[in-house]
């Protein structure tokens, strides 16, 4: 009898351990956001988001980080648009045109899967050497190219997952009605339309938050980004630089900048979630 009791006791202990593990993991999210909110909120002012750095900004004088916010938004928008324009056709091609189960299909999908995990610093290092070799200085353009390369695998993989959810019957029906492959592809695109926005948002979130890729390629500037061949500030880099300052005021601004980035990311996440739940309803 005591044996059974021991086993049931073990069961209880295990359950508590598992619950604690779950709480730790989900709790870490609130903890991270909470820490940044707690530290950043006192320093968050309207000036931070509406002005560019004035003289002496980095030793604690007036100004804001509008340059970095705009730079990041430009960079992420353009890169995401490019990555979508390249990535969506690739996954359509792999799922509609290429014969299912062929070497090309399996090889390419595996490759994009694997590329998904290559760290951005590697892309950044490559792009940087390429820019040195071609005589281009650090600029918005360099950043856009790097981040586009980084986000293409994300778009290809997410769209691919979506295309898998299209019922095979639907594909066969369109073909049997005499549709060409392109017409079938258009049907596919309509079917997964809400999901495409989710994929785009995911890529956008990744693009706006990346540091290692832009660290080497985009440079930094106190001016608002005007031309594509000029260096530009980005929000993650602004956080990184300000945090390494010894002046408390500047460090405080780093926390506030981190808070701004957190807000942007949370907005993206909420939009993604809303779109995804719409996708669920849309399903037959």
């Amino acid at each position: 009898m005591s044996n059974v009791k021991k086993r049931l006791f073990k069961e209880k202990v295990a359950k508590v351990c598992m619950q604690l593990a779950g709480i730790t993991i989900t709790g870490s999210l609130f903890f991270i956001v909470g820490t940044i909110l707690y530290k950043g909120a006192p320093y968050l002012t309207w000036e931070m988001i509406s002005e560019t750095p004035k003289g002496g900004f980095y030793i604690g004088k007036d100004g804001g980080i509008l340059n970095a916010i705009l730079g990041s938004l430009y960079l992420a928008t353009v890169s995401t648009a490019l990555a979508t324009a390249i990535g969506v056709p690739i996954s359509i091609y792999l799922n509609v045109y290429v014969k299912a189960g062929s070497f090309l299909e399996r090889f390419s999908k595996l490759l994009f899967d694997v590329l998904f995990g290559i760290p951005s610093i590697v892309y950044g290092a490559i792009a940087f050497s390429l820019m040195v070799w071609m005589g281009i200085r650090a600029s918005l353009l360099g950043g856009i190219i790097t981040i586009t390369l980084l986000t293409i695998p994300i778009v290809v993989r997410t769209i691919d997952e979506l295309l898998k959810t299209v019922p095979v019957d639907l594909k066969n029906i369109t073909f049997s009605l005499g549709a060409t492959r392109w017409e079938t592809a258009k049907m596919f695109l309509r079917y997964i339309k809400p999901g495409i926005f989710t994929a785009i948002l995911l890529a956008f979130g990744r693009a706006i938050g990346d540091v290692a890729g832009v660290l080497l390629t985009t440079g930094f500037s106190d001016n608002l980004p005007k031309y594509i061949d000029e260096p530009s500030a980005t929000l993650p880099l602004a956080i990184f630089f300000q945090l390494s300052s010894p002046i408390p005021e500047v460090q405080g601004r780093a926390y506030a900048s981190a808070l701004i980035l957190t807000f942007i990311i949370l907005i993206i996440v909420i939009c993604t979630h809303l779109l995804a739940s719409r996708q669920q309803k849309h399903k037959i």
């Binding site: 593990a21 999210l29 056709p89 045109y97 995990g117 290092a125 392109w182 938050g209 660290l215």
Partner: protein, 296 residues
Amino acid sequence: MNWRLIKDKLVERSFSLLLFSSLIVIALILTGLIVKSVPLIQAEHLGKILTESVWSPLKGSFGFLPFIMGTIWVTLISLIIAVPLCVLASVYLVEYAGDALRSMVLPLVNVLAAIPPVLYGVWGVLFVVPLLGQFVGPLFGVETTGYTVFAGGVVLAVMIFPIMISIMVEVLQTIPQELKNASLSLGATKWETVTKVILIKAKPGLLAAVVLGISRAFGETVAVLMVCGNIPQIPKSFFDAGYPLPALIANNFGEMMSIPLYDSALMFAALLLFVIIFGFNLLSRIILNKLEAKAS
């Protein structure tokens, strides 16, 4: 010819062009990395580069051992923390939790995946580093600033939670109900079923999840760079500062043009990262694809 067919062909051509050019870009990236690292490998023996522990570019000695060890330390620490937590939490979500809890927790874990590395870094600097420096260090009787491989490991552990949880949950969901029923009907408790049936059956998939976590941890740059001290030495304990490979590239690229072989050495570091992570990802993807094929 029919206009519809022409359109179909045109689309086929342009889409395949996009696919092949992106495949070529990937090949070019790898070639570029190799070409740029060749000068270093020619100048010094490959085995020596990997095992030498002195890093002093000005004197022309490029020992990668401290950086490789730094990377291994932070990765191992993060795994020690993250793997048990993730296995336990995933088992709970799949086997014990109700649908309502699961559909609440999984999206939250995905939010964790969306948080950019630099924010993890800020959190590390604000919370993990002071915690280690002021409380945990003295507890073990160690004098430390907190900027240690331990801090890097903790931050990384939180960063690899999402990828491990999402894959582990998927893997655990493919375990057939019949197996669990058989075990339960023989009188095993739920926990015994978990340890003696489910986890054993799920082992390859769990392993794949861990390997994906490793490769994520291996390549993470900025968050680790911000908290782990960046001193080129071989860490000897949890409370030593370390200097992982990605941090080496991020910190030194761009200012090394005048020193011979320096840029080649940094590209070699990038090549190392690329090859190791590529290999790890390939391995885990192959395992996962096989499992998926079996499940369907």
